[in-house]
């Protein structure tokens, strides 16, 4: 496949370059909050990328993915609370805990299907949520603050915002690479085969349960790592990061961006958090000419727009942002071909 200058590829390239150059913009403008915001976007994009592996590529509708975000975060925060500050211990521990949890949840839930699978993954996430709020030593419902960020024996300093941003971006790219390699391997082909027809795949002789479980554990593990990142980013973990609406947010990111596409989750995370941050201002500006007095107030009701927007995406734009870009590209290609004919 050769890289063509389609709108889809251009936008994707622009996104990647933009993300890479963001600290430059921040240095020029001094708007350090943009860096904070984008670090959050990049980390949540990574969580969405991990969910996309099971949701998008193999149709496993997990409604408890935020649990891994919380487990990774809590493992990091608890170790830090107990005096273990080294990231060389914290992060592998976060990965191991979420991998084990994913293994247990996957082994039990993958026996069910359809809506029962949705509900049982949700149930396990709620258990993790309540477990965290029951740990009095670690703050219970109030959550736990990190006294200091993970240390890496002086190799990198995570309290430097730019360094931390680039580390997160690097890990995001690495997870996209991983998903790309996986989905193009035999393993990935089987997973995608399961999505379209599981009975056929097992009839051919593939042990589909084992394939699905492996995919489930990889996704959980990756999400656990992004949990360790988010704990370092906010210096704070709380049970609410595992609440079911958070799992809903992750699903929204994946679907909004485009399920089963490599960069879709990144688009989705970017779009959702950007809307969250700037839709209020956008609505205010739009209302201003008609009702200057109510403009600021109108912006507060941004979810009134976001809600139906989601429904619209579900009903009419199944491919999400990536799908739209692809449709654009295809139209461009058709026009090109028509001209040559």
């Amino acid at each position: 496949m050769k890289f063509a200058l389609t709108p889809r590829n251009l936008v994707t390239a622009a996104l990647l370059i933009g993300l890479a150059l963001l600290p430059l913009y921040v240095a020029l403008t001094g708007d350090r909050f943009m860096l904070t915001l984008f670090t959050r976007i990049v980390i949540l994009a990574m969580a969405a990328v991990s969910l996309n592996l099971i949701l998008g590529y193999s149709g496993m509708m997990s409604f408890g993915h935020a649990a891994y975000l919380g487990l990774g975060g809590y493992t990091t925060a608890i170790l830090s609370f107990e005096g273990v500050h080294s990231g060389f211990i914290q992060w592998p521990a976060a990965i191991a805990v979420s991998a084990l949890f994913a293994l247990a949840v996957g082994a039990l839930s993958l026996r069910t299907r359809g809506v029962y699978f949705i509900m049982i993954t949700l149930a396990f996430a709620q258990m993790a949520y309540y477990l965290a709020s029951g740990m009095a030593r670690y703050g219970g419902d109030d959550g736990l603050s990190l006294e200091s960020r993970s240390t890496f024996a002086g190799l990198i300093d995570l309290s430097d915002k730019t360094t931390f941003y680039y580390l997160c971006l690097l890990l995001l790219f690495a997870s996209i690479m991983l998903v790309w390699r996986l989905t193009n391997s035999r393993f990935g082909m089987v997973l995608q085969g399961v999505r379209s027809n599981e009975t056929r795949m097992s009839a051919i002789g593939y042990p589909t349960f084992r394939y699905k479980l492996t995919g489930f554990v990889i996704a959980g593990t990756l999400c656990g790592l992004s949990g360790a990142l988010i704990a370092n980013h906010t210096d704070f973990v709380s049970p609410s990061m595992m609440f079911w609406t958070r799992s809903g947010d992750l699903i929204v990111m994946v679907v909004l961006g485009g399920m089963g596409t490599l960069f879709g989750p990144v688009f989705g995370a970017l779009a959702l958090l950007f809307l969250e941050q700037f839709l209020p201002a956008l609505i205010s500006t739009a209302v201003e000419p008609f009702n200057p007095a109510g403009a600021a107030k109108a912006g507060e009701y941004w979810q009134l727009v976001l809600g139906p927007l989601l429904l619209f995406v579900v009903l009419f734009a199944r491919g999400g942002i990536d799908g739209m870009l692809r449709a654009l590209s295809r139209r461009g290609a058709d026009a090109e071909r028509a001209r040559h004919d």
């Binding site: 913009y25 001094g30 909050f33 419902d141 906010t234 704070f236 609410s240």
Partner: protein
């Protein structure tokens, strides 16, 4: 292609230009960020605080030390992580000079670090997280309220005097709830027959807990439920048949916002506060009268503390003549607390928490209206108990 790129980067730089504010620029205004809860069932508390803060600004002519005041209100939606994001936005994007507000202990505890790290002054107007007064105290943190355990200690002392022998405790399972009940237990001399912590803020049905309190046959029940939960608790207390058979004591659960909805259910309930609307001093009279005139309602203690927070900031900005770059001078000026507080004399202890008196209040009915009447002075000029753990001396 190259031309467009150049044009684009030029446009970018132009757009970015005005944002880069030179460090030597004169202070043009005083920017204050105010984090509170403006949505959900406790939005009335946040609004009351905002109203009082605005009233204080009006009383100061909306200027501090000759500079106009710019307010930025942010809603924490009662969630610690949201409060933290809002605090970050205030110090990093809006670059405020002061952050004030904060109703909830768990929210302020999650949010204080980015504020203090940015060397911005945090003036807490309510949340009484004890760690911020003790081990995590900071030159940049001030409070115009109390710590969570102070008022319950006053109530417990009062109950000791009254000869209450046993008590059942009910409170919310979050930072302030735990610290509040712990404070009560530290001072109560009788027997604690049982204690229940409920999920906060989602659990509003107290049937299981009230049944246990009733079965314990305790002399009294002590509870702590701020905001709307306090209304539900008192109503359910009456519905379960406990009202009239077991006396109820509380802190922070009855105020001028909730009392119109609690009505008869609150009659006779006793609590302790450092301020009340009937405190006889000029500043308080002016505050209460003007508040009623402007907003048509009685001010709550949340309002009183926010009013003091605004006045405190005003006094400091005036003292340094608007030169907010000199952090050490601002800190000194804040420590002096040179303003007329609605609670009378106002003095900070070494940990930047007030040294103050506490009054016992009982809900009484006069005509058709319900008010909290001061019935006793529980403690006179007590310093904050956590100053010992604070490294600032």
């Amino acid at each position: 292609m190259q031309k467009t790129f150049l044009a684009a980067s030029a446009a970018l730089l132009l757009a970015a230009g005005p944002v880069v504010s030179p460090a030597w620029a004169q202070q043009k205004s005083v920017k204050i960020g105010f984090v509170s809860t403006f949505s959900g069932p406790v939005a009335s508390i946040g609004n009351d605080m905002r109203n009082a803060f605005e009233l204080a600004l009006d009383h100061m002519g909306r200027k501090m030390g000759g500079l106009p005041v710019e307010m930025i209100y942010e809603d924490d939606t009662l969630k610690p992580e949201v409060g933290k994001q809002k605090a970050e936005k205030l110090v990093e994007s809006d670059k405020v000079d002061f952050v004030s507000g904060f109703i909830w202990s768990n929210v302020v505890y999650a949010s204080y670090k980015p504020i203090v790290d940015a060397k911005t002054f945090l003036i807490i107007a309510n949340a009484g997280e004890t760690r911020l007064a003790g081990q995590n105290c900071s030159p940049f943190i001030f409070s115009t309220s109390w710590t969570n355990d102070q008022n319950p200690i006053a109530v417990a002392d009062y109950m000791n005097q009254k000869g209450v022998k046993s008590v059942y405790l009910i409170g919310p399972n979050y930072a302030a709830g735990k610290e509040n009940l712990a404070g009560f237990k530290s001072a109560f001399k009788g027997k604690v027959l049982g204690e229940d912590y409920t999920t906060w803020p989602s659990q509003l049905d107290f049937s299981a807990e009230l049944a246990k309190a009733k079965a314990s046959k305790a002399d009294a029940v002590y509870m702590f439920y701020p905001g709307a939960a306090g209304v539900q608790f008192l109503n359910q207390y009456a519905q379960a048949g406990l009202k009239g058979s077991i006396p109820l004591y509380t802190t922070f659960s009855i105020d001028s916002l909730s009392l119109p909805r609690q009505k008869d259910a609150a009659l006779g309930v006793i609590s302790a506060l450092q301020w009340s609307a009937d405190l006889p001093n000029d500043a308080n009279k002016k505050f209460v009268d003007d508040f009623k005139k402007k907003f048509g309602s009685e001010p709550s203690f949340y309002a009183a503390q926010s009013y003091d927070a605004a006045m405190l900031i005003g006094s400091a900005v005036t003292a340094v003549k608007g030169n907010l770059g000199d952090k050490a001078a601002v800190q000194k000026a804040l420590e002096k607390a040179d303003f007329k507080s609605v609670r009378g004399d106002f003095k900070f202890g070494s940990n930047h928490y007030p040294t103050q008196s506490f009054y016992m209040q009982e809900v009484v009915k006069t005509g058709d209206s319900y008010t909290q009447k001061t019935i006793a002075t529980a403690e006179k000029n007590v310093p904050n108990p956590h100053a010992k753990q604070c490294s600032m001396k």
